[in-house]
């Protein structure tokens, strides 16, 4: 795997954000807020961490990724397209009846998607199963997942967490995309999962905290996760819902709605500006 410099990763992340906006705009539906909050994590995973080969999406020894918060498929599809798993033009068919890019990730339709998700709580269990299979087969692949913070309200997350620690799945690293908002408002108002770090500690996990938009810190956390033996790792990543698009940031209303033409153009202008600045630096 070729290591990328931080600046190149930042550029990929901006391009993925642009894909997200275009996907959701063209589909007139989808989930931009949470997609934008997990974009930097996904970019680091696919461009600097995971052992994957876009030419062999079903390669047995690849690292696995599960988007447990499956509604943020626009971000995953954007990263997979940038990585070369399928043509970028196809992103504009997102959620259309003649497209393979389902609203929620489907492993049977989308090259690079390792698990079908969308029903919250189930993805992390599947990731546990993948990590267990890896151990059973003495494979050295690693398994990664991204959980939503609202998703912590699903009881299955805690069943899976108990199992991951019980089976000492140190080949599993899960990001918590902690943007603090769910469709109905602040997660702490709707049904607080706090204290999150203490809960995972009590469940037997290696608990790390990071800034989910700081490329270098994400990389450092992933290194620490790899170094930890005998325990699964949760990386609690503080993020901003809607990150990168000014009017979407920290707005629960952008959980599951699409921008109109004007909003789309503004978002693109903002993201293009960031991209241009990165080119100059």
């Amino acid at each position: 795997m070729k290591k990328m410099d931080t600046k190149a990763l930042k550029k990929y992340a901006v391009r993925v954000r642009k894909h997200i906006i275009d996907e959701v705009y063209n589909a007139s539906s989808g989930h931009p807020g949470g997609s934008l909050s997990c974009t930097d994590i996904l970019t680091v995973l696919y461009f600097a961490e995971m052992r994957v080969d876009p030419k062999q999406p079903l390669w047995e020894d690849r690292d696995r990724f599960v988007l447990s918060k499956g509604h943020c498929s626009p971000a995953l599809y954007g990263v997979l397209a940038e990585k070369g798993f399928f043509p970028k033009e196809d992103l504009l068919t997102f959620r259309k009846a003649d497209s393979y890019l389902e609203g929620h990730p489907s492993m049977r339709n989308v090259p690079g998607v390792d698990m079908s998700t969308g029903s919250l709580g189930q993805g992390i269990s599947a990731a546990v199963g993948m990590a267990m299979a890896g151990k059973l087969d003495n494979k050295d692949y690693r398994v990664y997942a991204i959980l939503g913070d609202g998703e912590l309200q699903e009881g299955e997350v805690w069943e899976a967490s108990m199992a991951a620690a019980h089976y000492k799945l140190d080949n599993l690293a899960v990001f918590l995309d902690y943007n603090g908002l769910q469709i109905d408002g602040k997660i702490t108002d709707v049904l607080s999962p706090e204290p999150v770090a203490d809960k995972f500690k009590a469940f037997g996990w290696n608990v790390l905290k990071t800034d989910g938009h700081d490329i270098e810190k994400i990389l450092e956390a992933l290194k620490q996760a790899k170094d930890c033996k005998g325990k699964p790792t949760i990386i609690i990543a503080k993020t901003i819902k809607g990150k990168g698009v000014s009017y979407m940031e920290n707005q629960a209303g952008w959980h599951g709605s699409a921008p109109n033409k004007e909003q789309r153009d503004q978002a693109m202008a903002e993201l293009d500006k960031v991209l241009a600045e990165l080119e100059v630096e």
């Binding site: 269990s125 199963g129 059973l136 069943e159 199992a163 019980h166």
Partner: protein, 266 residues
């Protein structure tokens, strides 16, 4: 996996996605009931190679009572795309069904009971073919189509009917999905009267599956023996089967009823 059925099903899905043939086992109530949506979204939708071994199905769980007696699992499993549903009649058929489940690529729901039941089949001559029923006894007056422990009751009913000069065919449907359309239509054509027998609600199970086949292909009178849309209760298994109308004599009564329908008397 502990007492966490939802997690178990999705863990099995994850394992299967990595090439394992994953067997996930718990009581039928908790497999098909509690973990229904994990089976739907994480196993059937991605068509993963998971075998759900659902034990303690039906009223014959006995003393544990209604909370543990699955009478709706066939119904909810057979409506899932990609799912195969198997309900064996005895130990021999179960053994072969497990092998067939392993050989079949894709999700399988294997419905098993807790009660010891008579062995019907001879292991040395038995042949299991997924999706194919087994004609256990010949007869052209009526056909009794049964599954699970009701197959043995159907054979007993056949003997009782014989004493009264009624010649009933007996068919074991071990694969409820995909169901053996040809064998059911042939039975309808040749006997003109069908009785189904299952340790399951008459809604949604074998009786419904057979009714679907008959009404689309060859409508003939049908009477369904099964749980009459009510929950079970605690008790000795045999006593419960009697209380809920799931015995050989109930099949006899239903066969006589279907014969009256056939003769146009009802």
């Amino acid at each position: 996996m502990g007492i966490a059925e939802g997690n178990m099903m999705a863990v099995a899905a994850g394992m299967a996605s990595c090439g394992k043939i994953a067997f996930a086992s718990t009581f039928a109530v908790f497999a098909a009931g509690r973990a229904f949506e994990q089976i739907r979204n994480s196993i059937c939708y991605p068509n993963l190679n998971v075998k759900v071994c659902a034990t303690h199905a039906g009223l014959s769980v006995g003393e544990d009572g209604a909370s543990h007696q699955a009478i709706e699992d066939i119904a909810v499993m057979r409506v899932l795309p990609n799912m195969t549903v198997i309900s064996p009649a005895d130990a021999v058929e179960t053994k072969f069904a497990v092998k067939a489940a392993i050989e079949h690529e894709g999700p399988v729901y294997l419905r098993l009971g807790r009660l010891s039941v008579p062995v019907i089949y001879n292991e040395s001559s038995y042949k299991f073919e997924l999706g194919k029923g087994i004609e256990l006894a010949e007869g052209n007056d009526a056909a009794i189509i049964a599954t699970g422990l009701m197959v043995n009751a159907a054979l007993e009913a056949k003997a009782l009917l014989q004493q009264e000069g009624i010649n009933a065919r007996v068919i074991d449907i071990h694969t409820i999905k995909p169901i053996d359309v040809d064998m059911i239509v042939k039975a309808a054509r040749e006997t003109g009267a069908i009785v189904t027998a299952e340790e399951h609600n008459i809604i949604g199970g074998l009786g419904s599956a057979v009714a679907e086949v008959l009404s689309e292909n060859y409508p003939v009178p049908l009477v369904r023996v099964g749980v009459q849309d009510k929950f079970g209760k605690s008790g000795k298994p045999d006593k419960l089967l009697e209380m809920y109308g799931l015995t050989a004599s109930d099949i006899v009564k239903s066969t006589k009823a279907v014969l009256k329908k056939k003769a146009g008397k009802l």
